[in-house]
Structure formats: C-alpha cells, structure tokens
C-alpha cells in the first residue's frame, strides 16, 4: 500500500476529528460515542503501522500501541475519577504502569528509574511544604482547643470523598487563573490582574449567552473565543505601556482589575432581571440553555448534578499551555525572555513581541476562567461572583512552580481544601480559618524555597569572596 505523504496529515486530522466527535457524543450522553473513539484508536494503530512500513522505520509496534493505550486509560480514568467514580483510579494507575512499561521497553531500566527519581524529587518540596503546614495547623488546633484528628478527618473526607464534586468545581476556575499567571511568569511578567480579566471573560460570556442562539457546540466555541479575546484585549494596554514606557505590569494590570471588577455591577444592572416579574437587581438573567456546558451527569448518571465538563476543558488547556511553552518556538522565546531578557535580545528574540504574546494569552486564560464559570456553573453573573479566583490563581501558580501540569494538581489541592473546609465546619466546631492558615503556610514554605536558594547562593558567594581574600592575603604574605 502506498500512501502519499500529503495525505498523512489529512488522515491524522480526520482521526482526531473522529475521536473528538466520539468524545463530544459521550459528553452529550450518547454512549455510542465510545465506539467512535474505539474506531479512531484502531484506525490510528493501523495507520501508524502502514506509515511505519512505508518509511521502513525500525521503531517497534508497541510504541504507538502503548502510548495510545496509556492516553485512553488516562482519559477514561481521569474522567471517571473526576466524576466521583473512584474506581477510575485503577485506570489511572494502569495508565501509569503502561507509561512505565513503554519507557522501560524503549529506553531501558535505568532511564525509567532515573525519571522516577527526578519526578519524585520535584514532588518533594510541595509535598514536604504541605505536610509541614498540616503539622503547624495541628499545633494551632491543639493550642486553641480543637480536635485536630477529627478536624482533619472531616477536612479530607469532605474534600476528597463526600464533596469531591465541589472540590472539582472549585478547582476548575483556579486551573485557568493559575495557568494564566504561570504563563505570564514564564515570560518574567507578573499578571496580578487576572481577577479583572476573569470578570471581563465572565461579563462577555454572560452577554453572549443571553443573546447568542446557535446550536450548542457553536455557541460554546464562539463564546470561548470571543470572551477570551476580550479578556486578552483587556491586557493590551498594560502590555503596550510595558513595552513603550516600561510601566510595571503589576501596577497597570492591578488597576485594570479593579476597573473590571467595578464594571460588573453596572453590567449586572443593565442585564438584570425583568423588573415586571422580579426584583433581582443583583443578578443578571439566566443565559440561554444552548450555551450551557454539558454536565457530567449526562454520561455518568451517579455524579453530582452541578459538575460540568469545564474541568476537562481546563485540563486540556493545561496540556495545551504545557505544549506551547515547552514544545514550540513561541514557548521557547517566551521562556528565554523570562529567564534572561538580555541574552534573549542578543539571540535576536524580540522582547516587546513576546511581552505582548505572554500578557495577551495570559489574559485569555484568565478570561476563560470566567467563561467556564458562567457557562458551566452559575449560568448568570452575580454581583460578587468571584471567589477571588484571580488572587488565588497566584498561589496556585506559585505552588506549582509555574508548571502548567502542576497547576492542575495544585488547583485541585486548593479546591479540596476549600470544599473540605466547608464540610469540616458543617460537621465539627473547627472554624474554617484553619484552612486559610494551612494554605498560607503552604504558600509561605513553597515561596521560602526561593529564599533558601537565594540565601544559599549568597552564602556561597560570600565564602568564595572570603576565600579569594584569604588567598590574596596569603599571596601578599
């Protein structure tokens, strides 16, 4: 069989589309969509085999098989787990095993052990920080007369099991704002105004949701693109000022965040409830239901009725941002500007251009947070809608060391702490402030890591200087 090289991307695109349609059908409650995914998977394997033979590569057959099997297991397992079908964890573990197997077969035992070690080391600092924060929280609880074991049991039972869906719902907007801030950080920019872009995204999404009457998938796509673009445009002025005058983005984005936040009451008044039937001056009308994001309940009937697929979109965006940052030229340039602007300029990388890219895309991501919250959960805009997602996004990004994949987990951790904290105050006497204290300590310990590094470097430098001085003195004598 001979397949023209030009047709290859077409077939790949067709297979991806088939898988996407399959996935969408499942999400819309039609289980035959799974069949399409299966067809796309088999199609991919066959296609890969054909190309392989054609190009007479020597890569073994198991690579695409294992890779795609891992992907399928991870996606199904992740979705099940997020939907509170906890046995999805077995599929996730299966995916991990398949991943290890593939790595072992292709790169050998040592590489596998090496990568495990590396990942473990990266995990150590946040895990250690979190555990120490728990210990400090425990001490505070004992000192103030609350039962720490009972409280923690409630906190984690509530956050991880009982109200897992609330944890996931809490995490969804945080993933977006966390990504937004992490992305800007990678370019050395501090987009502190994510809160404002969140409101812009939410407002535009509400406006479009109220008036756009198209088939659901188009409505959702248009709302995402338009509202996201508006939120990105909200960062245009800070980016321009940064490039042209050097005005610091912390100040400019922060000011615009307040502007956006206080625009929202005006917006809500303008699109508020119908005065003849209700007096809801503090909430907008409900958006049309063809812009609602699908709920998990349509395909996993035992899930909480509020859980929407925003979390899946958020995870997809996290992977996209990871890919963009680490696998593309644009991402490389952005990181280069972030790490050392002078070196980047010397390499012929335009700093201004990358500042624009980073701030605008960061704004888009923060806007997505508002979009998903409106389309998926609230279906309307409340006066004090945001739970400080913009500000909390900073913590989430810092905690993940600005790693987009890490952001998923830190946002989930924050979500679990919030949901578990709410459960805790319902079943025990412990006040919710203990959760805020734990969060604060976690953050402090993680940020303190930079202080350790700074102090370490300083000490090294001083020692070096001393040694040099000693050496020169020795020379003189």
């Amino acid at each position: 069989m001979n397949i023209n090289k030009k047709i290859q991307p077409v077939i790949t695109a067709a297979l991806v589309l088939l898988a996407f349609i399959g996935g969408w059908s499942v999400v819309m409650g039609r289980s035959w969509g799974n069949l399409l995914i299966l067809v796309a998977w088999i199609g991919y394997l066959v296609f890969d085999r054909i190309i392989d033979r054609q190009e007479q590569k020597e890569s073994p057959f198991h690579t695409p098989l294992l890779n795609s099997l891992m992907l399928l297991l991870a996606i199904y397992g992740g979705v099940l787990y997020l939907g509170a079908y906890f046995w999805g964890a077995f599929l996730l573990i299966g995916a991990l095993l398949v991943f290890s197997l593939e790595k072992r077969l292709t790169e050998g035992k040592e590489a596998l052990a090496e990568s495990f070690k590396k990942n473990l080391k990266n995990l150590m600092i946040p895990v250690f920080g979190f555990l120490s924060a728990l210990v400090v929280g425990m001490i505070i609880m004992v000192a103030t007369g609350y039962n720490p074991i009972e409280s923690y049991a409630a906190l984690f039972y509530g956050g991880l099991v009982k109200n897992w869906s609330v944890s996931v719902l809490n995490a969804t907007p945080l993933i977006f704002t966390g990504l937004s801030i992490a992305f800007a950080f990678q370019a050395g920019l501090f987009n502190i105004g994510a809160e404002g872009q969140y409101f812009i995204g939410a407002m535009v999404a509400t406006y479009l949701g109220l008036y756009l009457n198209l088939p659901p998938i188009f409505t959702i796509l248009i709302v995402i693109i338009v509202a996201g673009s508006f939120a990105a445009a909200w960062n245009f002025v800070p980016a321009l000022l940064k490039v042209k005058t050097g005005a610091h983005e912390v100040i400019t984005t922060m000011m615009l965040a307040h502007t956006a936040k206080y625009l929202s009451p005006i917006f809500i008044r303008a699109f508020g409830g119908n005065p003849s039937t209700s007096n809801h001056a503090y909430v907008t009308d409900q958006i049309l239901d063809n812009s609602f994001l699908p709920k998990f309940k349509t395909f996993l009937p035992e899930t909480n009725y509020r859980l929407h697929i925003g979390i899946l979109i958020a995870i997809a965006f996290a992977i996209l941002v990871y890919y963009l940052l680490y696998k593309t030229r644009i991402g490389f340039e952005i990181r280069a500007v972030g790490q050392n602007p002078n070196a980047a300029r010397a390499q012929g990388i335009s700093i201004g251009k990358n500042i624009f890219r980073a701030l605008l895309f960061s704004g888009f991501l923060a806007g997505m947070s508002g979009v998903v919250q409106v389309l998926g959960l609230d279906h309307k805009l409340f006066l004090n809608l945001s739970g400080g997602y913009g500000w909390n996004g900073i913590s989430v990004a810092l905690l993940a060391s600005n790693n987009p994949i890490g952001v998923i987990f830190t946002a989930l951790l924050w979500g679990v702490l919030d949901a578990g904290g709410q459960y805790m105050i319902r079943v025990t006497d412990t006040p919710n402030s203990i959760v805020e204290i734990i969060k604060g300590i976690v953050l402090f310990l993680i940020v303190a890591r930079y202080i350790y590094a700074y102090l370490g470097n300083r000490m090294k430098r001083r020692r070096k200087k001393k040694n040099e001085a000693l050496a020169s003195m020795g020379g003189n004598a």
């Binding site: 964890a89 052990a113 109200n163 503090y282 509020r306 959960l377 004090n384 945001s386 319902r426």
Partner: protein
C-alpha cells in the same frame, strides 16, 4: 534491584493514595435524630439581626425538641448552592435558606433533593416551587410602618424630649440591597412617617451590601449631615455601621429584624422586628411532628409576627401619644382598616 524496590514502594504509595476514597465511603454515620440546618446569607452569624434570629430558631428547636442543628455561613453569592446542597447531602431533614437573595439557589437545590424539606426565609414559592419547599415571608411594611410612626412623631412634635433630637424635620433610612423585603421595610417606614408627619423629609440610601459596615456608617453620616436625627437601618451587617454612626453623632437609630437595643442601648430607640426565630422554630416543629406541608406562609401583624420592640431605657422620653398612635395603627391593620403599600413605585418614589 534496589531501585526497582524503591519504585515499587512509590507505586504502592500512589495506589494507596488514589484508592483511599473507595474505602472511606462507609464511614458515614446514620443517626435517627432529626437534623435541622441553615445556610446564612453573606451577612453571616453575628450580624445581630436576620441570620442570628434564624439561628436562634434552630437553637430553640435544639433545646426544646432535641433536634441536631447545623449552620454554615455563605461568604459570597456563589456559595449559596454548594452550601445548601452540602447540608442536604449531609443528611439534614430540613434546610433553611436565610434571605431573599437565596431564592433561586434554594429552589434549584430543593428540586434536586426531593426527599428533604427546604425552607426559605423571606423567599416565596409563588406556587411554582418544588413541593418540598416551604416559603416564609413577612409583612415587613407593617413593621416599618410602626417604626415610621414613632420616628415621624419623635422627630418633630416631641423633639424637645431628648437632646439627641434636633429641630430639623428630617429622618433617614439605610437600606442594604434593594430587594423586596428591604424595600417593604423602607416603603412602610415612609408611609408611617408621613401618616403622622406629612411634611417630614425621609432620606434613604441603598448601600448595596449587607456586610459592609463602613458603607453603612458612611451613608448614615451623610444623612446626619443633612439633618436627620433618627435613622432606620434595614441593612443587616452594614446597618451595624449605621448604628455606630448614630451613636458617635449622638442621634437615634431604629434597629431591624430583631430587638437591636443591645447593639447600642443609648442609641437604639426601638427596632422594627419580624418573628424569624419563631417561624423557623415552627417549621422545624412541623417537620419534627410530621406535619410539614410545602407552600407559602406569610406572617404579619395579624399573626403578631412583626412589630416594634420595646423602648427600653428610652421609654420615659416616648410620650403616651406616640404609644397610643402605634397601638391604634396595630388594631387598624389587624382590622384591615389601613392598607400599606409595599413598593416604591406605589408611593411614587
């Protein structure tokens, strides 16, 4: 070999972590005791008015009926649904949504948990709510009207009775948010003032928050500057700030929802009250005895559920004429002889 062991251990830990939730499911206890719970509005407990008085109803049920009680505070409007749903999921037999702003949230949750009772304070079902929803509303305008009579007479006719009162014929109202229960308080108050004192100027400011005592204080101060010597607050937590302002400037305040004299005994002349505590208790009692029924209940002066509190230490400066006027209004309303409008539009404001 050692490395392999290490990674195996790591894997085991990961598996344990991921699977723990599977086995934790069974740890929930099921008790036979009835549980009543409530989610506060954003004002939270300690607002010394609305939320606290609903909570007092639960506490009363706890001591008199022995039911378990549970309360969770809403920090923002987006907390309403998770809090109410969370309480329902925890197995509460009757869940109270305290405050008009939770209107849509409580109905949504009630529809999704059809086996439990939901009660909304200040929230009406209007016949369209789920069957397990009990709507409790009050005739706030009647309480406001009585407070208005007191304020209208004291600010002009009897201004000489206290050095807290000035010669200007001005009173003020601080409103939390312009939602029906608050609007009814205000509109009733204005009508009460004008019934006894038609030339009196009634200032009013909406502060758009039930939690911002600084804003409430600011609003009260600006009205004091314009000559107000009695300020009625219907603003939850923001209103506490208004009372503080009145205290600092040495004028009278009128409290809301419950007898707020304790907030500032020198300053609070009286309070326009509604019987949230009693009605919350009655709902729990109905559920406890198995007599609960969905639908709307409206409490007013007729049911002795709204009114004004006693004057406490100010009793001596409030002349008998004022008390007579109030008593007259109460009997007129009970007899249906006076109608009090309930919206700003109806009184042309």
């Amino acid at each position: 070999m050692k490395k392999g062991l290490k990674s195996a251990i790591v894997l085991m830990i990961l598996i344990c972590l991921a699977v723990t939730p599977l086995f934790a499911e069974g740890s929930q206890e099921d008790s036979d005791v009835l549980t009543a719970s409530m989610a506060t509005d954003t004002g939270g407990l300690g607002d010394k008015s609305f939320n606290d008085s609903a909570y007092a109803g639960l506490v009363k049920a706890n001591t008199e009926l022995g039911v378990d009680i549970n309360v969770v505070e809403s920090k923002q409007m987006t907390d309403y649904v998770p809090n109410l749903a969370g309480l329902a999921e925890d197995g509460s037999d009757v869940v109270f949504a305290v405050g008009f702003l939770m209107d849509e949230a409580v109905k949504e949750v009630a529809a999704n948990y059809p086996d439990q009772w939901f009660a909304g304070i200040d929230i009406g079902g209007y016949g369209a709510a789920p069957e397990n929803f009990i709507g409790i509303q009050y005739n706030e305008h009647e309480a406001g009207y009585l407070a208005g009579i007191v304020a209208g007479m004291m600010t002009k006719e009897y201004a000489g009775n206290s050095d807290k009162l000035n010669d200007e014929n001005v009173v003020g109202v601080v409103l939390g948010m312009l939602i029906p229960p608050v609007e009814k308080f205000e509109v009733g108050f204005i009508q009460g003032v004008h019934y006894v004192n038609p030339t009196c100027e009634v200032l009013s400011i909406v502060v758009d928050s039930f939690t911002d005592s600084a804003k409430g204080k600011e609003a009260a101060l600006s009205m004091i500057e314009q000559g107000a010597d009695i300020i009625f607050q219907a603003a939850g937590g923001s209103g506490i700030g208004a009372i503080q302002a009145c205290n600092e400037e040495g004028i009278f305040a009128i409290g809301v929802d419950v007898d707020q004299n304790a907030v500032s005994p020198d300053t609070v002349l009286t309070s326009a009250t509604k019987g949230v505590t009693q009605s919350a208790y009655l709902v729990i009692k109905d559920v406890f005895e198995g007599n609960a029924m969905g639908g709307d209940v409206i409490y007013g002066i007729k049911e002795d559920a709204v009114g004004i509190s006693s004057f406490h230490t100010h009793d001596s400066i409030v002349p008998q004429a004022v008390k007579d006027e109030v008593a007259m209004a109460i009997s007129d309303i009970k007899a249906g002889k006076r109608t009090i409008e309930t919206s700003r539009a109806a009184i042309g404001r």
